[in-house]
């Protein structure tokens, strides 16, 4: 009888694995999620040329104004950026958020045309043509969005487009709480 139980061992292992797979499949877990090490630490260096003509370059000083700031990396060639764009427009116009937009690996002419068509919610806009600043910020692609508090500490890092839920549950409370 003891030996028979031993034969059940592979079956139990199989059941365990099936359970794990089912959980992975159904729990909406994202195995590609890579997290972020920036949260809770001072924001990385911000040093990019201005996207719009005639504006001064963007520097770290913009992140330490005492007011919470949203930093959004985007590109005109990126479709998810298009999807999240109306949310930034709403945050800028309706909620008075200070949003810094950085066009990542995007020619300024193209990024500007894109913003002209969709509306420009960015109080400050930079152009990171080479992706150097993106690397410093631990960027893996666009869009990515960072919430930086008034002292310049990163409080939240979204990889991928933000959603209405993120706005209501995270960004708006953050803007209110950090003010």
């Amino acid at each position: 009888m003891n030996r028979r139980l031993l034969f059940l061992l592979p079956l139990a292992t199989l059941a365990l694995m099936a359970g794990f797979f089912a959980w992975s499949l159904l729990a909406g877990r994202d195995p590609a999620s890579i997290g972020s090490v920036l949260v809770g630490r001072p924001a990385p260096r911000l040093d990019v040329k201005a996207l719009r003509d005639g504006e001064p370059p963007l520097t770290d000083a913009l992140l330490k104004t005492g007011k919470p700031t949203i930093v959004n990396f985007f590109a005109s060639w990126c479709t998810p950026c298009l999807a999240e764009h109306p949310l930034f427009t709403r945050l800028a116009t309706r909620d008075g958020a200070v949003i810094i937009g950085v066009a990542w690996k995007n020619k300024p002419a193209e990024a500007n045309a894109w913003l002209k068509r969709l509306g420009d919610p960015y109080k400050f806009a930079g152009a990171d043509l080479e992706g150097r600043t993106g690397l410093d910020w631990g960027l893996s692609g666009v869009p990515e969005t960072y919430l930086v508090d008034g002292q310049g500490i990163v409080r939240r890092h979204f990889r991928g487009p933000i959603t209405e839920r993120d706005v209501n549950e995270t960004i708006l409370p953050f803007l209110k709480g950090a003010k």
Binding site: L82, H85, P86, L87, T89, E164, V167, N168
Partner: protein
């Protein structure tokens, strides 16, 4: 077709598992036969080595004995194992597997798959979408068209809505500020423009105000004719946006709406439309009679009685409709609108000048209690009171009704005449 394939795959899987399970006993005897063949070879080998002197007599005898013991053991194992195998596990495993695997597969599919997605064979796909495959609807063409129309009439709401839609298409589905401006202007001119309302709702959903979007879309849904071609898309959008925002999905947006009448499928509607009026009437009557028959067998179905009553009333069979309402009423309280329909079914049976029957009066009184300013109740209860000699009761109701009626109501003349008659006598 897909369901058939899935069923086939599941059957194959279950079969692949069951066949070996059911064949174990058969296999065991086969196995003994092949084992015996090997042992026979071994015995022959031992005999050979003994004969040519490579192995001593004693060693050969020991080896022989061992092989013989193994043969006996193998035979014993086969004999004892066979009854053991038909134990609980073996008896219940095959039916359990046959049941559990399809159930599990179905459960996972319903959870993770998209059972609602209609099949879309490649050949049939483009036909419905653009009527002329040589001239696909592109954002550019729509833009040019809308701009041309706006050049002629800058405030044409249809053209403004089309411009908005074209701008959205051009921006890969994002409602841009320019589109919002055009759509808002369109809606200001024609508040019931469905295209403008839909895309402005989409804008609200995209800019993080799903609640406003769903509210706007639900208003649009309510205002749309029941056969509007955009309704199914609109309902799907309401469900999608509500779900994405974590809001409760409105019941009308779920495919099987549990409220009121079951909506006929598109096929049914098309089939009805292809009939000539007489045939159609007959077909409808057949359906109504079928419902009637079903309700006779299952009289506790309140929703069914209400449906039957409604159908009878529409068909003009007011006496039968009133009976059906009474059946539904016995099963649960009716709301004011249904009470009105019921009362209407009663009073429509009246001949000109006839006073309402006692049954009608009961319904009308209930209606009046629920809605003191209901015109139908006021008029006919007044008539009933007048016939019963209760002139003050009649006058009170008719005067109330007269005050409620618009100045150009056609019934006004008749009512004034009656009031005069009641006052004069």
């Amino acid at each position: 077709m897909l369901e058939f394939l899935l069923a086939l795959l599941t059957t194959a899987t279950v079969g692949a598992l069951l066949v070996p399970l059911l064949r174990t006993t058969a296999r065991r005897t086969e196995r003994l036969d092949s084992a015996l063949a090997i042992y026979r070879d071994q015995l022959a080998e031992i005999e050979r080595t003994r004969a040519d002197g490579t192995v001593s007599e004693a060693e050969a005898a020991a080896a022989r004995l061992e092989v013989e013991r193994r043969i006996l053991n193998a035979a014993n194992a086969t004999k004892t194992a066979a009854p053991h195998d038909s134990s609980t596990l073996h008896r219940f495993l095959p039916p359990a597997l046959a049941l559990l695997i399809p159930l599990l597969a179905l459960g996972i599919y319903l959870n993770v798959g998209r059972p609602g997605l209609p099949a879309a064979p490649f050949a049939s796909r483009p036909a419905g979408e653009h009527p002329n495959p040589n001239e696909p609807i592109t954002a550019e063409r729509m833009l040019a068209e809308a701009r041309a129309r706006l050049a002629e009439n800058p405030n044409d709401p249809e053209a403004l809505a089309e411009l908005g839609e074209a701008l959205v298409l051009e921006a890969d589905g994002t409602v841009t500020p320019d589109a919002v401006a055009a759509l808002t202007r369109a809606l200001a001119q024609r508040p019931d423009n469905p295209r403008a309302a839909y895309y402005l709702g989409l804008h609200e959903a995209q800019s993080g105000d799903s609640k406003a979007a769903v509210a706007r879309w639900q208003a649009l849904e309510a205002a749309s004719p029941p056969d509007a071609p955009w309704l199914s898309m609109l309902r799907a959008e309401i469900a999608r946006v509500a779900r994405a925002a974590g809001m409760p999905v409105p019941p009308s947006a779920t495919p099987s709406a549990p409220t009121g009448m079951p909506t006929p499928s598109r096929d049914q509607v098309e089939a009805m439309q292809s009939l000539d009026p007489a045939q159609r009437q007959e077909a409808i009557r057949g359906m109504v009679d079928g419902l009637d028959k079903r309700l006779k067998e299952n009289p506790g179905d309140r929703a069914g009685w209400l449906r039957l009553a409604n159908a009878r009333r529409v068909l003009g069979e007011n006496d039968k409709a009133a009976d059906a309402y009474a059946k539904a009423d016995a099963l649960g309280t009716l709301d004011t609108r249904t009470l009105t329909d019921w009362a209407e079914a009663h009073v429509r049976q009246l001949k000109p000048g006839e006073t309402p029957s006692p049954a009608a009066v009961t319904v009308l009184e209930r209606l009046e209690k629920a809605e003191p300013r209901n015109a139908l109740a006021l008029f006919y209860l007044g008539a009933a009171a007048f016939a019963a000699g209760d002139k003050p009761g009649a006058l009170r109701r008719w005067n109330t009704l007269l005050a409620l009626l618009p100045a150009d109501a056609p019934i006004r003349g008749l009512l004034e005449e009656r009031i005069k008659a009641a006052e004069g006598k």
